[in-house]
């Protein structure tokens, strides 16, 4: 099942696979950025807004969170046809999905900041907007870190689903490698190597984000 010759085959083609890592990485960052830019305002709107816009945002979120990512990508590619480029389509699809989930992360974090903080800010004369901006948001962003770390990993792994629209990211390249080269015995080796690469990616980003969270953390004392 596992053969030395097959491992050698994978090693020879490692550069081909590693370009896939680049695509995967870029796609992940692009999707997360879209997710943040849309998700944070959406979450804030759900907490502080009311009226039609808030309801539209909330319903869109429900729809995006209830639909499989593969369906979202295919709809964007074939039905809406937002772009010829599989990369752009995948980035938008993953970005929209991520925005829907990030909005919930931020909504929860904003709601978890004690009412009293907002009151105290208003009591010294800040307007509602200033109070939210200078007192609630900085605390909410810090509280969002665990959820955001989780989301990072999820998006990273979901980039593999761009397989469905033929984007040459890591998993697709692995699939192409053993189907196109006719080296079908190397299947297991290829996918094990790819899984290992994904694991390294998720592991390092998690540790990196852990470090980032510690760096920006607010010191908590023992004598409360």
């Amino acid at each position: 099942m596992l053969q030395a010759g097959d491992w050698a085959f994978v090693l020879d083609n490692l550069d081909y696979l590693l370009i896939g890592v680049g695509v995967t990485g870029t796609l992940t960052l692009a999707a997360l950025a879209v997710g943040f830019l849309l998700g944070f305002p959406a979450g804030a709107l759900e907490v502080y807004g009311d009226g039609l816009l808030a309801r539209v945002v909330s319903t869109s979120g429900v729809l995006l969170r209830g639909t499989p990512i593969v369906v979202i990508m295919l709809v964007l590619f074939f039905v809406v046809s937002i772009s010829q480029s599989a990369f752009v389509t995948a980035a938008v699809g993953l970005g929209l999905r991520s925005a829907a989930y990030q909005s919930q992360i931020f909504r929860g974090a904003l709601q978890s900041v004690d009412e009293g903080q907002l009151e105290a800010a208003r009591a010294i004369g800040m307007s509602r907007f200033e109070a939210i901006r200078h007192v609630v948001v900085p605390q909410a962003l810090r509280r969002s870190m665990p959820g955001f770390q989780n989301e990072f990993t999820i998006v990273l792994k979901d980039t593999s689903i761009a397989f469905a629209i033929g984007l040459a990211e890591l998993l697709t390249r692995g699939y192409d490698l053993f189907t196109q080269s006719g080296r079908s015995t190397a299947v297991l080796e290829v996918f094990l190597v790819i899984s290992a690469i994904y694991f390294v990616l998720t592991f390092t980003t998690n540790r990196g984000l852990d470090w980032l969270a510690d760096y920006y953390a607010i010191p908590s004392g023992e004598n409360r």
Partner: protein, 325 residues
């Protein structure tokens, strides 16, 4: 590792909280499940002489199509005023185009539900073992459990399915098992998919259960031991009953997740809901109808799951214990 790992119990509830006061929500779900059950009974249980043929929808498409046409005609003659009519015509034409695919999608939905339920149900006992090993086990056991969950949660589900289906000679082995593919028993590819979902789901469920167990105050086990229960009994009769209730939000997440990601089984030739939608769309080029319909099906399933988990949570709630709803 930082002092406090982001536990999944800290995660915001990402299930779909449906406003169940809305009557149309209940009505919609009732219609959906009613039709689905009738269709399944028709396709799987009724003898061929009585049943509606498997490729024929219960509903006729022609009336919708002709209504769409006439409305479109009226709209065109009315000019700008006719825009809303045109919209309705578009909807009717959408419905007409979608109707013929209903039977196939219903069959796909059945497989989707089987994959999901089997994956979670089979993954659960494995997850309990993993989480107990992680929380209460010795160094070796803890390390093993941790490695399993980290490896599975750190790699994409699709890659895991590919390893199982293409990489290992599982299909050859499974195919030989008697009964595979006949009657209610799913075919080879579906069984491999179930295996994949089981392995995957076990890792995620283990994390939810682990953090739920850790939420149970340490004093509970101490008190249990002080009345003479062994550690194992204490875990079983005192900690787990509380911990499992804390884990319910996590399960809701996992159920919703698996419903959506069961769509990946299509890539290993399982004829579930997404596969059906995609193959019909590729044949008829009706991408819009099929993918939107597939999306609606999934949303209906997800909403149903959320409602179900909400009921479970309410039924098992004990005052003062958990309750994040």
């Amino acid at each position: 590792m930082s002092a406090e790992e982001p536990t999944v119990a800290d995660e915001v509830r990402t299930t779909i909280d449906v406003d169940t006061d809305r009557p149309w929500a209940w009505l919609g779900l009732a219609v959906f499940w009613g039709w689905l059950l009738v269709r399944w009974v028709n396709d799987f249980l009724l003898p061929a002489s009585v049943a509606v043929p498997g490729d024929q929808s219960f509903f006729p498409a022609a009336p919708f199509a002709s209504a769409a046409e006439s409305l479109a005609g009226t709209a065109a003659s009315l000019g700008v005023v006719g825009v809303p009519l045109d919209f309705v015509a578009g909807l009717l034409s959408f419905v007409a185009g979608a109707i013929p695919s209903f039977p196939a999608l219903a069959r796909g939905a059945w497989l989707t539900i089987v994959l999901t339920v089997a994956g979670i149900a089979l993954g659960f006992p494995i997850a309990v073992v993993l989480s107990v090993a992680r929380v209460y086990g010795g160094r070796g056991l803890r390390w093993l459990s941790l490695s399993y969950t980290e490896l599975i949660r750190g790699t994409p589900l699709l890659a895991q399915l590919f390893v199982l289906y293409f990489g290992l000679p599982l299909t050859q082995i499974v195919r030989e098992i008697p009964g595979v593919g006949s009657g209610f028993i799913p075919g080879t590819a579906a069984l491999v998919a179930i295996l994949g979902f089981t392995i995957n789901s076990a890792a995620y469920q283990a994390e939810y259960i682990r953090s739920a167990l850790e939420s149970v105050d340490a004093g509970q086990l101490t008190a249990a031991r002080s009345i003479g229960l062994s550690k194992r009994e204490g875990i079983r009769y005192v900690v787990l009953p509380q911990g499992l209730r804390y884990a319910i939000p996590g399960w809701s997440n996992e159920l919703v997740y698996l419903i959506k990601y069961s769509s990946l089984a299509a890539f290993i030739t399982v004829r579930e809901l997404f596969f059906q939608a995609e193959s019909i769309a590729n044949d008829t080029f009706q991408y819009t109808e099929l993918y939107v319909l597939a999306g609606l099906f999934y949303i209906a399933l997800v909403v149903s799951a959320s409602v179900l988990m909400g009921v479970v949570e309410d039924r098992t709630a004990i005052p003062g214990l958990g309750g994040t709803r």
